[in-house]
Amino acid sequence: MSLKLTLKKKPSVPVEAESICPDVMEGLDLKQIAALPLHHGNEQVTVGDFFKVTGKSNGEIRLEGDTSRFKMVGDSMSRGRILIKGSIGQHVGVHMSGGEIIVAKNASDWVGPEMSGGRIIVKGNAGHMVGCAYRGGQVGVTGGEIIVHGNAGNEIGNTMRDGLIAIGGNSGDFTGVGMLAGTVIVLGKMGWRNGAAMKRGTIVSMEDAEMLPTFTYACSYRPNFLRLYLRHLRDAGLPIKDAWINGSYHRWSGDSIALNRGEALIFDR
C-alpha cells in the first residue's frame, strides 16, 4: 500500500512542494510526513495543512486532487515513484536523477529541468521548457526520459546533453534549441526554428518541418537506431505507427553556425 496525499483545500497562491518526494518521505511515519514543510507563497506551512495523509510510506506517493498549483514536486528525486492523479504545477521532477513520475493530466512549464536520470510521463499536455536548462545554465537534461502524450510548448530540450524527450502531439518553436546531444522525438508538428544552434544530437519529427537556412539536406535513409527508440516509445504507450518504424527519413545536418554535427530526421511520406 502506497502513501496517499489527498488535497484538502486548494492553495490561494502557488506552493513550493519539494518535500513531496520519495527520498524525503521514505521511512517517516504519517505524523512526521504531515509535519514536513511546504512553502505557500512567503509563508511556511506543513504537508498536513493541505493534504490528508494516509497509507504507508513505501517509496510510492499518490497525489490526489487538483495539484496544479504545487510546484517542484519530486525535486532531486532519485528513487521510488510519484503518481499524480490530476494536473501538476511547474518544475515537476526538477533535478531528478532516478525513479518515475506519472502525471495523469497536464503538467505546467518546466517539466524535468536539468534532470539526469529517471522517467517522467505526462498523459496530457505539458507547458513550455520541457527538459531544459534554467536561464543562465549551459547544460540542460543530462539523462533520463520525458514522455508527453499530448502537446508541449516552446524550447523542448533546450541545451540537453543526453537522454530522450518524446512528445506525442505537437511542439512549439525552438524545439531542441542549442542541443549538445541526446534525442527529441516529436510525433506531431514542430514549430519554427527547430534545432537552432544545436551542436550534436537528434531531432525527429513525423510531420514536415521548415528548416533554418543553416541546415543542409544530406540524404534519405532508414536509421536503425530509430526503430529501437520508436518500439520503446510504443511500449511506453505512445501511438507509434508501423510506417514510422519501417519508413525512411530525410536527414538534415546542422546547425552550421555551431558544430554542424546535429541532425534533424523528418519522416519521408
Binding site: S12, V13, P14, E16, H39, H40, G41, N42, E43, Q90, D109, W110, H128, M129, Y134, R135, G136, D173, F174, V177, W192, R193, A196, E210, L212, P213, T214, T216, S256, I257
Partner: protein, 458 residues
C-alpha cells in the same frame, strides 16, 4: 556635462539649464527650461524634441486627493496604512513597474519586496527583458552612446523606429552628430535600416532592407552563417524577403567597416522568437569582432527603464522577474514575470510603481488585477489606478523630483527638477510604507510565536 544653474529673472521666471528630459531612454541632459514661477508652469523647453516638449510644456499638476482608497479620497497617512496592511497580509505580492521613477525609489522598492517576500518585476519584462535573458546566455559587445557618436562609421537600426520613439537619437548620437572620428557627420557614416515596413526612420538610411514579418531570426541567422563563411541556400529570399546578394553586400560592409553598431528595438525583442532574436543579433556582433570592432545595443524606451535593470541587478543579482518568497532571490522569467503571474492568477496583491499595466497587459492579467488588492503610486489617475484599492498620488520624477536615472546605454544621469510639488515623491511614499510594514511584520511575528507557545502548552 556642466552643472545645472538656476537663474531668476525679473518677471518672476526662472531658467534651469542642463535639465534632463525623462521621456525616453535617450535622457537628453541639455534642456534649458524656462519656468513661470507664479503660474507654476514650464513655458519654454529649449533643445527638447517633440516628445520632450509635450512632456514639459503640457505638465500641469492636477488637483487630486493625496490618496484614494476604494475610489474615495483619503489622506496620505491613510493610504500608506492601507497599503502596508495589504502587503503585510499578502502571501505572493507582485511589485511591478519602476520604469518612470528614480533609482532612489527603485532601490527602496527592492528593499520593500525583500522584506515582505514578494516578487519584483519591471516594465523591462514587456520590452527588452528578452534582451536581458539573451545577454545572460551569449554575452554582449557594447559601448556608450558617446563612443558610438565619436567612432561608429556603420550604423544599423534593426526593428525600431527612433525617428518617432527616440527623436534625438540621430542628431545626438548616431547619424548627424559630429564625432571625433566622424567629423563630417552623416557623410562619414553609412546608415542601414532593417525593418518589416518603411517607417519615419527609413529616409535617414542609405540602405533599407525590408524583411518579411516573422523572419528576423532567419535573416540574422543567415547573416551569421555568411560572416562565419558558411553556405546559405539561395532560397533564403523566399523565407526572409531579402536576396542572398543583399545579405552578402551587407556582410561585406559589416566586415570592412571601422566601427559598426547594431541598434535594435522591440521589433526583435517582442516578436516571435524574442530572446532568441536578441541573442542572434548580439551573437552577430560578437562574430563580427573577428574582423572589426562591432557592438550591439538595445534602444530602450521609457526614461529610467535601464535604471530599473541596474538597480534590481545590483541589489538582487538579477535584472527582473526576481522572487523573494523563500527569503533569497530567485530569477525565472515566465514564472516570476508580472504579466504571467497576473494572467495565471498567482499574485494575491500588487504594488504598481510608476507604470500602467492596466492599459497594456493582457485581458486575463487585467481581470485578475481587478480581483486582488492593488496599490498604485502614480502622478496621474491611470487605468491601473482606477482599478486599484489604494492609489497614492506622487510627484513627477524629473520635473518635481530629483535623483538619478540611467540612459539606455547604462550611463547614470542626474535629474534636475524645476517645479515644486505638494505631492510626495515615490521614494518618500515607499519609505513610509516600508516603515509601517516593518512594524506590522514585527507585531505579526510576536503574535505568531505567542500563539505557538500557547498551542504547545495546551
Amino acid at each position: 556635462m556642466s552643472a545645472a544653474t538656476e537663474t531668476k529673472t525679473e518677471a518672476n521666471t526662472k531658467t534651469v539649464e542642463n535639465a534632463t528630459c525623462t521621456f525616453c531612454g535617450c535622457l537628453c541632459d541639455d534642456m534649458v527650461l524656462t519656468v513661470d514661477v507664479d503660474a507654476h508652469k514650464i513655458t519654454k523647453a529649449k533643445n527638447a524634441c517633440v516628445l520632450g516638449k509635450a512632456l514639459f510644456l503640457s505638465h500641469e499638476e492636477e488637483d487630486r486627493p493625496f490618496a484614494l482608497i476604494d475610489g474615495k479620497p483619503a489622506t496620505l497617512k491613510e493610504g500608506v496604512e492601507e497599503a502596508a496592511q495589504i502587503l503585510t497580509n499578502a502571501r505572493f505580492p507582485m511589485f511591478y513597474g519602476m520604469s518612470d521613477t528614480t533609482c532612489e525609489a527603485q532601490r527602496q522598492n527592492v528593499a520593500l519586496v525583500d522584506m515582505v517576500g514578494g516578487t519584483i518585476d519591471s516594465t523591462t519584462s514587456v520590452c527588452h527583458g528578452p534582451t536581458g535573458m539573451a545577454l545572460q546566455g551569449v554575452g554582449e559587445s557594447t559601448a556608450t552612446l558617446g563612443e558610438i557618436k565619436n567612432r561608429a562609421d556603420l550604423v544599423i537600426y534593426w526593428g525600431g523606429n527612433p525617428a518617432e520613439s527616440l527623436p534625438r537619437h540621430f542628431a545626438r548620437y548616431a547619424v548627424t552628430a559630429k564625432g571625433m572620428y566622424t567629423p563630417r557627420r552623416k557623410k562619414d557614416r553609412t546608415i542601414v535600416n532593417v525593418d518589416v515596413r518603411r517607417t519615419k526612420s527609413t529616409p535617414v538610411a542609405d540602405i533599407f532592407i525590408q524583411v518579411k514579418i516573422g523572419a528576423d531570426f532567419e535573416l540574422l541567422w543567415a547573416l551569421r552563417a555568411l560572416v562565419k563563411g558558411r553556405k546559405v541556400a539561395p532560397d533564403i529570399e523566399k523565407r526572409t524577403g531579402v536576396s542572398l546578394e543583399t545579405m552578402q553586400d551587407l556582410v561585406e560592409r559589416m566586415k570592412n567597416c571601422r566601427y559598426g553598431v547594431l541598434f535594435f528595438g522591440m521589433g526583435l525583442s517582442m516578436t516571435r522568437g524574442r530572446h532568441f532574436n536578441a541573442a542572434a543579433i548580439l551573437s552577430l556582433a560578437s562574430d563580427l569582432n573577428e574582423y572589426t570592432h562591432f557592438i550591439a545595443t538595445p534602444m530602450r524606451g521609457h526614461g529610467n527603464v535601464s535604471g530599473a535593470d541596474m538597480v534590481v541587478s545590483w541589489q538582487t543579482g538579477y535584472p527582473f522577474a526576481v522572487n523573494f518568497s523563500r527569503g533569497y532571490p530567485k530569477f525565472n522569467p515566465g514564472e516570476f514575470t508580472a504579466t504571467d503571474m497576473f494572467a495565471r492568477g498567482d499574485a494575491d496583491a500588487g504594488l504598481i510603481l510608476a507604470a500602467d499595466p492596466g492599459s497594456n497587459f493582457s485581458q486575463y492579467a487585467i481581470d485578475h488585477m481587478k480581483k486582488i488588492p492593488m496599490i498604485v503610486l502614480d502622478p496621474k489617475l491611470t487605468h491601473t489606478a482606477k482599478l486599484a484599492k489604494v492609489a497614492i498620488t506622487t510627484s513627477h520624477y524629473g520635473i518635481n523630483t530629483g535623483g538619478t536615472a540611467y540612459r539606455s546605454d547604462g550611463v547614470p544621469i542626474e535629474l534636475r527638477p524645476c517645479l515644486e510639488s505638494k505631492y510626495p515623491s515615490d521614494e518618500e511614499v515607499i519609505r513610509a510604507i516600508y516603515k509601517r510594514v516593518e512594524q506590522l511584520l514585527k507585531a505579526k511575528k510576536k503574535t505568531k510565536s505567542a500563539n505557538n507557545k500557547r498551542r504547545k502548552a495546551a
